[in-house]
């Protein structure tokens, strides 16, 4: 455990500070929301509000793994649209709910494998490949649907997106919490997670020490696709309709959540706790602004500023403190 343990604990100490900051931001937002609206501090409303971000949050979990490994996946929103279209078409043909769910997840998995295979098989930067698949995966729904929509889903399917566990907690949120624990354990407590952080920090060194870097990357892309498929199931079930432009802009929102959560875009560092806190920061911010009837597009201003401020503040603080460290990848150490 010796050296590995010490690297781990040093990383944790550094990052835990960031999580404290996130927690403070979250409490601030909640306090402001409570002050601004009497409807905020209501258990039922709070649980209901998770519906609007649980699907994105699910993808953020696996996106975190992809980004820690120095990759990026811009195609997740397009995978959501692709899976949603497939489910919509099958539902119209009279296919039952279990098969719809299986289709969504499996198609997402296949799309993720496609990304992973091109990235690792041809050695091309993930950003270029996924810029291509952004258009390819969303292009197919446009070909199939044009400006039409699928709106004919079985009732039991809709229940997945609109129903509650114990009459209180939306299913998507329950699933998100389960996967948050699972991915956190995977990242911080398993060999796979340690390998990921290792090659994310230094791919060459990791390869020389016998880590099968490309195999890891391939499966993380696959997992990200599968999770996008699952998110597509919940989203499609919740809105009860499929249009080609479904989930537009989610790719960048998901990446923003991950980066705000303290994950370095240059790879190699980040914690699942940070990402989960970031999910709630963004979620509660949107919920609060929504309660004040602020239009959705204006929330993007706040979210964008939050992202920039979150990354810039530690850098400015470090510059002011005058601690000139070894110049690292910009924005890497937080």
């Amino acid at each position: 455990m010796g050296p590995v343990g010490s690297i781990g604990s040093r990383g944790l100490r550094l990052l835990r500070r960031w999580e404290v900051v996130l927690l403070a931001i979250l409490l601030l937002i909640c306090a402001a929301n409570t002050w601004a609206s009497e409807y905020f501090l209501d258990v039922r409303n709070l649980f209901d509000s998770t519906q609007t971000f649980s699907e994105k949050a699910l993808i953020a979990l696996t996106m975190t793994l992809v980004i820690i490994g120095r990759d990026i996946d811009l195609s997740v929103a397009s995978i959501v649209a692709l899976c949603s279209t497939a489910m919509g078409w099958l539902a119209g043909e009279g296919v039952g709910t279990p098969w719809l769910v299986a289709t969504g997840i499996l198609l997402g998995t296949a799309a993720g494998m496609f990304n992973g295979a091109i990235v690792t098989g041809f050695g091309v930067p993930a950003i270029v490949v996924t810029i291509g698949t952004v258009s390819l995966f969303r292009g197919i729904p446009y070909i199939v649907l044009g400006d039409g929509a699928y709106t004919d889903f079985p009732e039991s399917f809709g229940e997945l997106g609109q129903g509650y566990l114990f009459d209180l907690i939306p299913y998507a949120f329950v699933v998100f919490l389960l996967f948050a624990v699972f991915t956190a354990v995977l990242l911080h407590r398993t060999v796979v997670g340690r390998n990921l952080v290792a090659y994310g920090s230094n791919p060459d060194a990791a390869r020389y020490s016998g880590i099968r870097v490309n195999a890891h990357r391939f499966w993380f892309f696959t997992a990200n696709g599968a999770m996008s498929g699952l998110a597509s199931v919940f989203l499609t079930a919740r809105v009860g309709a499929t249009r080609p432009n479904i989930a537009t802009g989610w790719d960048l929102e998901v990446i923003a959540i991950v980066v705000l959560g303290g994950v370095s875009i240059a790879g190699g560092s980040g914690t699942m706790l940070g990402v989960v806190l970031s999910v709630f920061v963004m979620g509660m911010l949107n919920f609060g602004l929504g309660l004040r009837n602020v239009p959705g597009i204006l929330m993007t201003i706040v979210a964008g500023l939050l992202l920039i401020t979150a990354v810039a503040t530690p850098i400015i603080a470090r510059k002011i403190a005058g601690r000139r460290r070894r110049p690292r990848q910009p924005g890497e150490s937080r």
């Binding site: 990026i72 091109i118 041809f122 050695g123 091309v124 930067p125 950003i127 270029v128 490949v129 810029i131 291509g132 698949t133 952004v134 258009s135 390819l136 995966f137 969303r138 292009g139 197919i140 446009y142 070909i143 044009g146 080609p244 960048l252 990446i255 923003a256 980066v259 875009i265 240059a266 239009p295 597009i297 204006l298 929330m299 993007t300 201003i301 706040v302 979210a303 964008g304 500023l305 992202l307 920039i308 990354v311 810039a312 850098i315 400015i316 510059k319 110049p327 990848q329 910009p330 924005g331």
Partner: protein, 326 residues
């Protein structure tokens, strides 16, 4: 290296030529003057912005905020034009470029002085600028009849048969060609992108280079924003939505490396030609425009895979190339 680059561009040029020939066989009307005129006018704005994007890509950066910048700068001049319909065109262009420059400066400062990753900065400003368009316009559209007459007419006026948009794009393209392939600053972009550490040892100033890049993308986005709004005679929150991806796609298809330091203006322009020809040909050969996305996605992937071997190569002898040219 030089011959390799040439070969890749030659190959792409052949692909474009075959594409044109295939379309022309199927629908000869594609080669009519009217159709070609639409083609170059549509391609003009993409050519400006793809070359601007190329500057960012060369330095291992990226500017995701260009389309949002275009929308915001376009909205600013559209609102001005609504308030003062007889504002001279020179003033309009100055305001558009100024607005774009200001938005670009925000990116530039964060990237150059705070050393933040360009992808994070421009991801953030992309949302902010897009949101500001809505805020500035209250979500309403500024329509053709509200815009000044000169405002809409200017870019579509003609000189020697071509629209002003094309001439403006030609000027910008010419200037960027000079910068990239004939000026020291341009060579520094390649040197820095090829190997940032080595570039520092030979005295290349990273911060100044990044300032130059993101101020340029900003200013050109401002200019393009005005041209876009005038050409389509409408300004709204979704103006040029997703256009940043098209600029990147044109670069990638043209063989510009996302990993920095590699790619030529000629390749980039061929990438633009490829995309624009493809998009304009679809309705002519009776393919639904809904095929746009899937086709361009496939084109990008094919280009990526074809270029994969080039991407894997490390170390570019740009100085040796310089000696040859002298």
């Amino acid at each position: 290296m030089r011959s390799l680059l040439r070969r890749r561009e030659a190959a792409l040029a052949i692909v474009v030529a075959v594409l044109v020939a295939a379309i022309a066989v199927r629908a000869p009307v594609f080669l009519s003057a009217g159709s070609l005129d639409t083609l170059v006018t549509d391609g003009a704005i993409l050519a400006i912005m793809a070359l601007a994007q190329m500057l960012a890509l060369l330095t291992r950066g990226i500017d995701l905020s260009v389309a949002a910048n275009m929308a915001l700068s376009g909205m600013v001049v559209a609102l001005l034009s609504r308030a003062h319909p007889d504002m001279p065109v020179v003033a309009t262009i100055a305001v558009a470029v100024g607005s774009g420059l200001l938005l670009g400066a925000f990116n530039a400062v964060l990237i150059a002085f705070l050393e933040m990753p360009p992808i994070v900065v421009t991801l953030g400003t992309m949302s902010v600028y897009r949101g500001l368009v809505f805020w500035a316009s209250d979500g309403a559209w500024v329509n053709a009849h509200e815009l000044g007459e000169g405002f809409v007419a200017f870019p579509n006026e003609r000189l020697f048969g071509l629209t002003y948009i094309v001439w403006i794009a030609a000027l910008v393209v010419g200037a960027l060609l000079l910068l990239l392939h004939r000026m020291r600053k341009g060579r520094e972009l390649y040197a820095y992108g090829g190997n940032p550490a080595a570039a520092r040892y030979v005295g290349i100033d990273r911060a100044r280079l990044q300032l130059l890049v993101y101020l340029t993308t900003g200013a050109l986005a401002g200019l393009s924003g005005y041209l876009w709004v005038a050409r389509y005679a409408v300004a709204y929150t979704e103006t040029a939505l997703g256009f940043e991806m098209q600029t990147i796609a044109a670069c990638v298809i043209g063989g510009v490396s996302i990993a920095g330091g590699r790619g030529s203006a000629a390749g980039c322009l061929l990438g633009v030609a490829f995309l624009v020809i493809l998009f304009n040909a679809l309705p002519i050969i009776d393919v639904s425009p809904f095929w746009h996305m899937a086709i361009s996605g496939t084109a990008i992937l094919v280009a990526v895979i074809v270029n994969a071997r080039g991407e894997a190569r490390r170390g570019v002898l740009i100085l040796a190339r310089a000696r040859v040219e002298r």
